[in-house]
């Protein structure tokens, strides 16, 4: 679905990505882990064309997007949605208007149809009846839910999650993880998540990739990833406690 070939990127004089090769499987939840400052968010932004690589190529569904601009890039972006670290809700709009925003702007929908779709999504993420509130009135977890509702409302093929549980307490983080998994299993979109939540991510991800020294150190299904013999990766994933695996979807 998404393929990166030899992607290199230098930011602020620092070589962040040093030849990333990555193949994201369709319809699965893939999580990218790695130490702070390794460039995980930078990698995610390359997948949606927010950043262009200095070298290398990024393919989305077979289309090379790293040199695309304007309308052509926007066409590819219509297949995506992204949940940002801080949710990136428009603070001058209510929760309802935030979720309705892509429907009104991109699909030119109006009135009852917008209300129906927005209310449906708000209910799915557990924010029914909260549409009138402004982002500043929401807790961190509620903002993430609202961001997820906005990401889901266009029913995209691919959703990128940039550290969706940063700044949340463990219970809220688990609730957001469970919500992402439930939505992914229901709508079957391709999910790519950047996360620091180890070992929790092994319980929710189909595939895990580790970014190390600007390259993909290891990418494997969760069950195989935790069996790695690489001492550095093993230490990285074991330091926070025992690892549990994802249960097969019922």
């Amino acid at each position: 679905m998404i393929k990166l070939v030899g992607v290199e990127k230098t930011l602020g004089g620092q070589r962040v990505l040093q030849g990333v090769d990555l193949d994201i499987p369709p319809g699965k939840l893939t999580t990218i882990i790695g130490r702070s400052g390794e460039g995980k968010s930078v990698l995610l932004k390359h997948m949606i064309g927010l950043l262009q690589p200095d070298r290398g190529q990024v393919f989305v569904g077979g289309i090379e997007i790293s040199r695309l601009r304007g309308k052509a890039l926007n066409e590819v972006r219509k297949r995506f949605a992204m949940l940002f670290q801080g949710a990136a809700l428009f603070d001058s709009l209510t929760v309802f208007e935030n979720v309705a925003f892509p429907l009104r702007e991109k699909l030119r929908l109006k009135g009852a149809e917008v209300s129906r779709r927005v209310d449906e999504k708000l209910e799915q993420v557990g924010l029914a009846g909260m549409g009138h509130k402004f982002p500043a009135e929401l807790s961190g977890g509620m903002k993430k839910r609202a961001g997820l509702a906005r990401a889901l409302v266009m029913e995209p093929e691919i959703i990128l999650f940039d550290e969706p549980t940063t700044g949340l307490d463990p219970l809220m983080a688990k609730a957001i993880h469970d919500l992402i998994v439930a939505m992914q299993q229901r709508f079957k979109f391709t999910a790519v998540m950047v996360s620091h939540e180890i070992p929790e991510i092994f319980g929710i991800s189909d595939w895990v990739a580790m970014l190390r020294k600007g390259k993909i150190g290891l990418m494997a299904p969760s069950a195989e990833f935790i069996k790695t013999n690489d001492p550095e990766i093993h230490e990285f994933i074991s330091v926070s406690g025992p690892v549990g695996l994802k249960q097969a979807a019922g």
């Binding site: 932004k45 949606i48 927010l50 926007n74 066409e75 972006r77 219509k78 995506f80 949605a81 992204m82 940002f84 670290q85 801080g86 990136a88 809700l89 428009f90 603070d91 925003f101 892509p102 702007e105 991109k106 266009m154």
Partner: protein
Amino acid sequence: MMIERAGTWGVSVILEMGRMLLFVLSSFAWLTRPPLRFVQIVKQLHFIGYKSTFVVVLTAGFTGMVLALQGYYTLRKFGSEGLLGSAVALSMIRELGPVLAALMVTARAGSAMTAEIGIMRITEQIDALDTMAINPLQYLIAPKLVAGLIGVPLLVAIFDVVGIYGGYLVGVELLGGNGGAYWNSIASAVEWKDVYGGMLKSVSFGLIISWICCYKGFFTRHSAEGLGAATTEAVVLSSVLILVWDYFLTSVLL
């Protein structure tokens, strides 16, 4: 070493100017593509224009009053109090109206524009627009540029009228000058080219304010300190450019 530093500085200034030019040209180019952001333009006009009216009226009133006060005593020395109206009106229409109104709009609306766009940049709201395949230049910047082009001339017109009435209040009502002479001297001295020149200035000042303030907010650094610096730079650069451009335009128009 000195030459190298000067060269590096020179190149960075030229690159920055190029980026600024591309920014404004791209934003205007996006205006020509559908959809027309009519609601956004009206919202920005409300913010830049309507919400600046109070501060503009206040500044204009006192500017006209102090002009009349100074002008009256100066003209009286030459027995020319009858020319007070034309002195106030020409100063207002040609210079003080456009420049002072633009500086007030920069301080009130320009700084707020930079802060708003800068916060949207820092909190990734601009990236969010991009990921939704909505061009931020078309959605955010172009309506502000249009609102600046329309709003500032309207505020300048209000500034001129209020300033002239402020002058009347002091020169005629307070100091006892002749009301008929006041209005008559305005009618005989003010020409179309004075009004036209003042409006031309106000349109270009409107563009300068929205252009510089939007640019500085759009490319703000990702920190609270960066946002503060961007807001300061936007206000200082807009104000300086207004005064420099005013000089060039005046030298061409006269």
